[in-house]
Symmetry: C2
Subunit: 236 residues, 2 copies
């Protein structure tokens, strides 16, 4: 267990049996960073979107990501963490992923947002099972905002149903995205043992050995990905 966290007595603290505070802060920092990156991405999407209506709507989604990120940063402060310090270790966490998966069209960009970053969100959702109740509820609420996913599904569905070649190319693109995204999760687990502990705490109760948690985790992430692709009528 790490011992670097500072507790402030007046704030709601995790119940016994749930994650160490420093571990909780480490996951919350990741969630905040992912929401911040969602903001950056949605803002760039807004600048690139083909119609004014989409540009307006995407800018509202970007704003909503800022609000969600700030809720998570506020929670970090509440349980005694430093919000900026919590986010710092994840600076550039998706740079490698982004460099390896440059979308070559608006559709590839949409699918990347829905499928690629969806894996990171699923990972945080699973790790959140190991958090104290208040932090867990917050993380699940924050990650549950599906408005952008709905837009992506609707647009991809409309485009794909008219175009067999596009569907085949997007299915291939989806497979590349999930492979790279699972690689990101793998690196996160290596670099942040706190996240491994949270996943182990959250998975299958106390009898599950922490060592088994990662393979179970990757199985779950792959299953979620398959579900997401089939919602779009694409083969995973």
């Amino acid at each position: 267990m790490t011992t670097t966290h500072a507790q402030t007595g007046a704030e709601p603290l995790p119940a016994a049996g749930s994650a160490d505070l420093a571990d909780a802060i480490e996951l919350l920092g990741l969630v905040a960073q992912l929401e911040h990156m969602a903001f950056v991405r949605l803002a760039a999407d807004s600048a690139l979107a083909p119609t004014i209506e989409q540009r307006l709507e995407l800018s509202r989604f970007a704003s909503a990501a800022v609000a969600r990120r700030d809720r998570v940063l506020a929670r970090i402060g509440e349980i005694g963490g430093d919000p900026v310090a919590a986010v710092r270790p994840y600076d550039g966490v998706l740079d490698d992923f982004d460099a390896r998966t440059p979308p070559s069209s608006w559709w590839e960009r949409l699918l990347k947002a829905y499928v690629g970053y969806g894996v990171a969100d699923d990972f945080c959702r699973l790790a959140a099972e190991g958090l104290d109740e208040e932090s867990r509820t917050l993380v699940l609420e924050v990650l549950d905002d599906a408005s952008h996913a709905e837009l992506a599904v609707a647009e991809l569905d409309a485009a794909g149903s008219k175009d067999g070649v596009l569907t085949a190319r997007l299915a291939l693109w989806g497979r590349r995205l999930v492979g790279e995204a699972l690689g990101v999760v793998q690196r996160l687990l290596v670099q942040h043992p706190a996240l491994v502990r949270l996943v182990a705490l959250g998975s299958a109760g106390p009898q599950a050995a922490p060592a088994n948690a990662p393979s179970k985790l990757f199985g779950e992430l792959t299953a979620q990905h398959t579900r997401r692709m089939s919602r779009l009528g694409l083969t995973a």
Copy 2:
């Protein structure tokens, strides 16, 4: 006078003597577009900012620009306009300006936001004098959010006071920016006679001839620019 506007009887309408509704919608569309571009720019600044603290803060400014833009779009709807149609004529209105003034450093970028886009804001403020009271109040409120300007002033001031070479280069950059920005205003007036009518309505009361309004306008915009530069300790 243009006659393309649709009035909806239940909404607050401009008082007699103030601008034609279609003219008002034309200015509100410009203000909404400028706020939307402020969002795009602040979001890009957030992605480029050197520190995490600045990235977080700039993303909040970007969100605030979305909220301000949406207030203006709502007003367009209230007085019977179509928000998306009102914004459309200004699509790409600053593309030329941006292509001619690519900032070569973080400081040049900050100064561009403060000085370059400041001219556009000042122009809207002056034209807003010709609007009905409710629309005018809204435009002045929306353009009054100075939080980003404060940040720019503080940072440029801190950087410039330590570095004479930077100060000299930024003064030069400011002169280029204002020249190009006044060119944008000139093109706006040529392409949107409604804006000329609003400026004339707003300036110096009924005895001022509309034909004189533009030269008075450019005098005011230049004076505002000089004030802004001297706040930074830069020669205009």
